[in-house]
């Protein structure tokens, strides 16, 4: 039962990644990232055989942050800049989804070759986390809008976080809290900077930020 639920959640996470690559409306992207954070929180809890109080509290805090606070901050940046969709991305949506599928196959192969020691993880979970990280990186590279890049950063962080809680459970809570705080501050500062970029340039297309080069 637990096994089936876990696999269902991993598949959901993979589908959410594909959705991230396929939609142009930023609102939908933010929503997807928020749902994904919830799924990842559930997976993190499922992967622990007997979660203690601190583990649950930390996972809950992380999920609240990633599913609630960070999307709210991105939403705010969207409202202030008035940007609602990604127009004319560097890589088209159909191609993005195709590339996404390719990346998923790659993650499956990578997960198979990595020998994960603990019994906790099926290799589905490993490939899911790798795929999520790759999705995040892809969004950063293949989209123009600064907001989408922030979302890509959050997605990548989500994938790494899931890998961490699943396989490195003995990370002390102090470190986990520190990582969370850093991610929060990073997204916070990025949000402020997106607004500044919008005010300064009247657009947030990062590929047009090209004054500095050699």
């Amino acid at each position: 039962m637990m096994q089936a639920l876990g696999e269902f959640l991993v598949i959901l996470m993979i589908l959410l990644n594909l959705r991230l690559m396929g939609v142009s409306r930023l609102g939908a992207c933010v929503q997807t990232v928020a749902i994904q954070a919830l799924v990842i929180g559930a997976l993190a809890l499922l992967s622990q055989p007997k979660p203690g109080f601190w583990t649950v509290a930390l996972v809950a805090a992380a999920t609240a942050l990633k599913a609630g606070v960070l999307p709210a901050m991105v939403h705010r940046a969207m409202r202030e800049t008035g940007v609602v969709r990604e127009i004319d991305p560097l890589v088209g949506y159909t191609l993005s989804v195709l590339i996404g599928t390719g990346m998923f196959v790659l993650s499956l192969m990578a997960a198979r070759s990595l020998q994960v020691p603990s019994a906790a993880g099926t290799h589905w979970l490993v490939s899911g986390t790798l795929f999520t990280m790759l999705t995040g990186l892809f969004l950063i590279v293949a989209r123009r809008k600064a907001i989408t890049q922030v979302l890509g950063f959050i997605t990548m962080e989500n994938g790494i976080y899931l890998f961490g809680v699943t396989f490195a459970i003995h990370e002390p809570w102090l470190v986990q809290a520190g990582v969370l705080l850093d991610v929060f501050a990073a997204v916070f500062i990025m949000g402020i900077m997106v607004c500044h970029i919008n005010r300064e340039f009247d657009h947030i297309d990062t590929n047009r930020l090209s004054d500095l080069k050699d």
Binding site: F153, L174, A186
Partner: protein, 494 residues
């Protein structure tokens, strides 16, 4: 003691944000810098290593070396900052290229972030746990991004955005590397244990080699992004050229070292696990690529702050090569960290003086320094000689030690590439530097008689350069002991 090192700048930094009086805030900056420096000097008297927070924070030989550099440079930068902030006008400044007006961000944010930046760097240097180390490195990125965006200017905004995004993504890879390291502790035959460095080193034999290798690669690429190793260095020239000069000095002289230290910590684990050769070869590869890449770009540059930035990429490459060669070269690299930081910080501060008068970052505009900015001109010339590794400055000695290490180990190809890159960089930097020192400025509307220079703006870089000169002529024994102790943990035979 260790707590005080982190908390003094942190608390002062938080206090600096709401303060209304500029004078009080600047006093706070210098007081905190002085207190930090005094504590570091006191740390030299205590037998190493000593701990705090049950071993999570440690000052060992390597941290003491990096801490001294960081603290000394920060003190220099804060003294320079007093003068810099006094000089920087409240009224909008005219952009020399595009002719529009821009202002500065509030000074409270600037000084607050500067102090928090020091606290974060100190935390990187003294942390003895790979997880805390990661948190601190990311904190340095976050606290320094607002510093780069001090001028309300579209180019500095662009630089700050690139810096924040590229470094955050890079460091996220290092986080994954940390998790891989944690998996390595459970995958091997040994018992599961934490990511405290002494524990990792002690139980290194029980780490799973595959996961350890993957972790090292991720950490090298991740922190290497922050350190400015090519080809992950793309943020570095932008951030260094667009931020205020004293921030560039800190980024180049102190921050890059912190990232380097993070890689060194991982290398000590690798050495203890008996896989030091793998790590060393990787470091040599990235180091030579950085040196070559920077040398090629240095030839064609016309922006003197970018030139200094690429020279930092080159010197980070030299450090990586030195550690990669091990032995004498590793000791040379440790010494080189100190020499490079002092010289580069001095050069950036002098570049700030030049920029303030000429209002141009172009080598062809900023000519005739020796006639117009007499003291800064001499300092610029001395700094250029020093950064290119000419005797009698300290960089000559440390670069020679690295070369000696390469030759002693029979690494002829490495030595050849190393020398070639050094030579090209020497020619490029010396050419541009000499052009700036001599000649006559003809394009810019500035007076051709000497400018008055304030004492602090030249005394600070002069002190740093005298330090490098002294290191080239005479090596204090305690420093040499420290360098040797730091290099010994990196393996490669000594």
């Amino acid at each position: 003691m260790i707590w005080a090192l982190i908390l003094i700048p942190a608390v002062c930094g938080i206090l600096a944000f709401p303060l209304a009086s500029d004078r009080l805030r600047r006093t706070l900056l210098v007081t905190a810098a002085l207190a930090h420096f005094a504590l570091v000097l006191a740390a030299w008297q205590i037998p190493l290593p000593f701990n705090a927070a049950t071993g999570w924070l440690t000052v060992d030989a390597m941290s003491l070396l990096f801490l001294s550099i960081c603290s000394g440079l920060f003190l220099a930068a804060s003294l320079y900052a007093i003068d810099y902030l006094k000089r920087s006008p409240k009224a909008p400044i005219r952009d020399y290229l595009e002719g529009f007006q821009f202002g500065n961000r509030p000074e409270g944010i600037f000084i607050g972030c500067l102090l928090l930046f020091l606290a974060a760097m100190t935390a990187v240097i003294v942390s003895n746990h790979m997880g805390i180390l990661w948190v601190a490195v990311e904190a340095t990125t976050l606290t320094s991004a607002p510093l780069i965006y001090y001028h309300r200017h579209h180019r500095s905004l662009e630089a700050a955005w690139k810096y924040l995004l590229i470094c955050s993504v890079g460091i996220a890879l290092a986080l994954l590397g940390n998790f891989f390291l944690a998996v390595a502790t459970t995958a091997g035959p040994g018992q599961e244990h934490s990511l405290l460095l002494p524990e990792l080193v002690k139980n290194a034999a029980g780490l799973s080699p595959t996961w350890l290798k993957a972790a090292f690669m991720l950490i090298l690429v991740g922190y290497g992004t922050k350190m400015g190793l090519a080809p992950m260095h793309t943020w570095l020239p932008d951030a260094h050229s667009e931020s205020p000069s004293l921030v560039s000095a800190l980024l180049s002289g102190a921050l890059l070292n912190c990232a380097f230290l993070a890689i060194l910590r991982m290398q000590t684990v690798l050495v203890a696990a008996g896989m030091g050769d793998f790590g060393r070869n990787m470091l040599i590869l990235f180091g030579l690529v950085s040196m070559g890449w920077a040398a090629m770009l240095l030839i064609s540059l016309t922006d003197y702050k970018r030139m200094l930035a690429y020279s930092s990429v080159e010197h980070m490459g030299i450090l990586a090569v030195g550690i990669g060669l091990g032995g004498t070269a590793a000791a040379g690299a440790m010494l080189h960290v100190l020499n490079h930081s002092l010289t580069k910080a001095a050069l950036f501060l002098v570049a700030g003086n030049i920029l303030a008068v000429y209002r141009s970052k172009n080598v062809n505009d900023a000519r005739g320094l020796l006639g117009i900015l007499r003291v800064s001109g001499v300092l610029w010339l001395a700094g250029i000689l020093s950064i290119t590794g000419s005797p009698p400055f300290g960089l000559f000695i440390s670069e020679l030690m690295i070369l000696k290490g390469a030759l002693a180990g029979g690494r002829w190809a490495v030595a050849g590439c190393y020398l070639a890159a050094l030579f090209v960089a020497f020619a490029a930097i010396a050419w541009a530097g000499m052009r700036m020192a001599y000649g006559r400025p003809d394009t810019l509307p500035i007076q051709s008689k000497p400018y008055a220079e304030s004492v602090l703006s030249v005394a600070v870089p002069a002190t740093l350069l005298v330090g490098v000169l002294v290191l080239g002529l005479w090596m204090p024994l305690p420093l040499w002991r420290l360098v040797k102790a730091a290099a010994a943990t990196l393996g490669g035979g000594f």
